[in-house]
C-alpha cells in the first residue's frame, strides 16, 4: 500500500508542538478536550500518548468509544514561525493495563516529557518525592491511528482547511 506523505509543515507541527487538545467522547455523548503531550511515530503511522491513572477518564471513554481527535493549535514553545493548526481524527486504543516501566517508551519519556518539561524531573529527585509522586508514573498507554488530517495554514480558521484522508492500512509518512 502506497504510504501517504505528510506536508513538511504538518510533520513539523507533529514533531515540535508541546501539546495538543485531545478529545474523547463521554458516556453521555459529550466530546471533551484536554491538553496532552502526544508523540508522533512516523514509522508506525500513529500517535502515542499516555495518561496517569489519576486522570483515567479519557482511557475509559476510549474503551467505550474509540473515536478521538487531536487538535494541534497552541504553538507555544514550538519554535515554529506561523505554523498551521492541524486536526487529526482517528481511532484510539487504551488497553486496561497499568504501565510502570519505561521500556518501549524511552523516546516518549526522554524527549516528549523530560526534555520539554524539566520540572517533572523533580518528581523522582528524592525518596519523599518518589513516595508522593509515584501516581504520576502509573500510566495507561494510548495509541491513535489517524483517519483524517486537516490543516489550516497559518492557524487561520477563517479559511477552508486542506485535508488528507488515510485508509486504515495506510501509513502517514513525512
Amino acid at each position: 500500500m502506497k504510504p501517504i506523505i505528510l506536508p513538511s509543515e504538518v510533520a513539523a507541527v507533529f514533531r515540535e508542538f508541546r501539546t495538543c487538545e485531545f478529545s474523547t467522547i463521554g458516556r453521555d455523548g459529550t466530546p471533551i478536550a484536554w491538553p496532552i503531550s502526544a508523540r508522533y511515530l512516523p514509522e508506525q503511522g500513529q500517535f502515542l500518548l499516555t495518561t496517569s491513572i489519576a486522570l483515567s477518564q479519557k482511557a475509559v471513554n476510549i474503551r467505550r468509544n474509540p473515536h478521538v481527535a487531536l487538535l494541534f493549535s497552541n504553538p507555544t514553545a514550538s519554535g515554529l514561525d506561523n505554523p498551521p493548526a492541524v486536526l487529526v481524527q482517528g481511532i484510539a486504543a487504551a488497553p486496561d493495563q497499568i504501565n510502570t516501566s519505561v521500556a518501549g517508551l524511552e523516546d516518549y519519556w526522554r524527549d516528549t516529557i523530560f526534555r520539554r518539561q524539566p520540572i517533572s524531573r523533580l518528581y523522582s529527585s528524592n525518596a519523599l518525592m518518589r513516595y508522593l509522586m509515584d501516581w504520576y508514573y502509573l500510566r495507561i498507554v494510548i495509541t491513535v491511528r489517524p483517519r483524517t488530517i486537516r490543516w489550516w495554514p497559518s492557524g487561520d480558521f477563517s479559511q477552508e482547511a486542506r485535508e488528507l484522508v488515510s485508509q486504515s492500512a495506510d501509513k502517514l509518512k513525512c
Binding site: S23, I32, P35, A54, R115, I119, E160
Partner: protein, 149 residues
Amino acid sequence: MWNEITRTMAQYDTAVLTFVDAAGFPLSVRCVPQMDGTRQVIRVKLPPDVVAQPGPASLMSHYHDNQMWNLRGYNVVGELEKEGEEGWVLRPRRLLPGLDSGGMLAQFKMLVKSRRVVQQYLDKRGLSRPKVDWAGIKKLQAEARKKEL
C-alpha cells in the same frame, strides 16, 4: 454559574470548540468566543468548510509556559445550538476546572486529589500499588539533561 464561566473564560483570548461530526468523530476548531450575557450563551464562529450539527459540545482553553509549566485551563460543557442561518452558540451546562499547577496550594490540592483517585482506581480493581521503574526514569532524565547541554 454564568458569572464564573465569564470570569474564567476572560483569562484567555481564544478557545477550542469540540463537537461530534456526522461520522461520529470529535471535531475541534479554535475560535474567539463571544459571551452573550443576556441569553447566557456563548457565540462561536466555525471555519467555512466545517459542517457542525446540534448536540453535546464543549469549549476549552489551556495555558502552559515555554517550560510546559504554570499549567491552567478549563472546560465548559453544554449544547451546540444553531442560531439563524450561519451562527452557532454553545449553551453551557457545567464548568469543569482544569489542571492548575500555579501556586503551592494548587499543587498541594492536585497532589492530594491525585493520590486519592489513584488509590480508589487500584482498590476498585483489587490491585496492589505497582512499583515504578525509578532507575529507568532517572536514566532517561539524565539523558534528557545531557541533550540540553
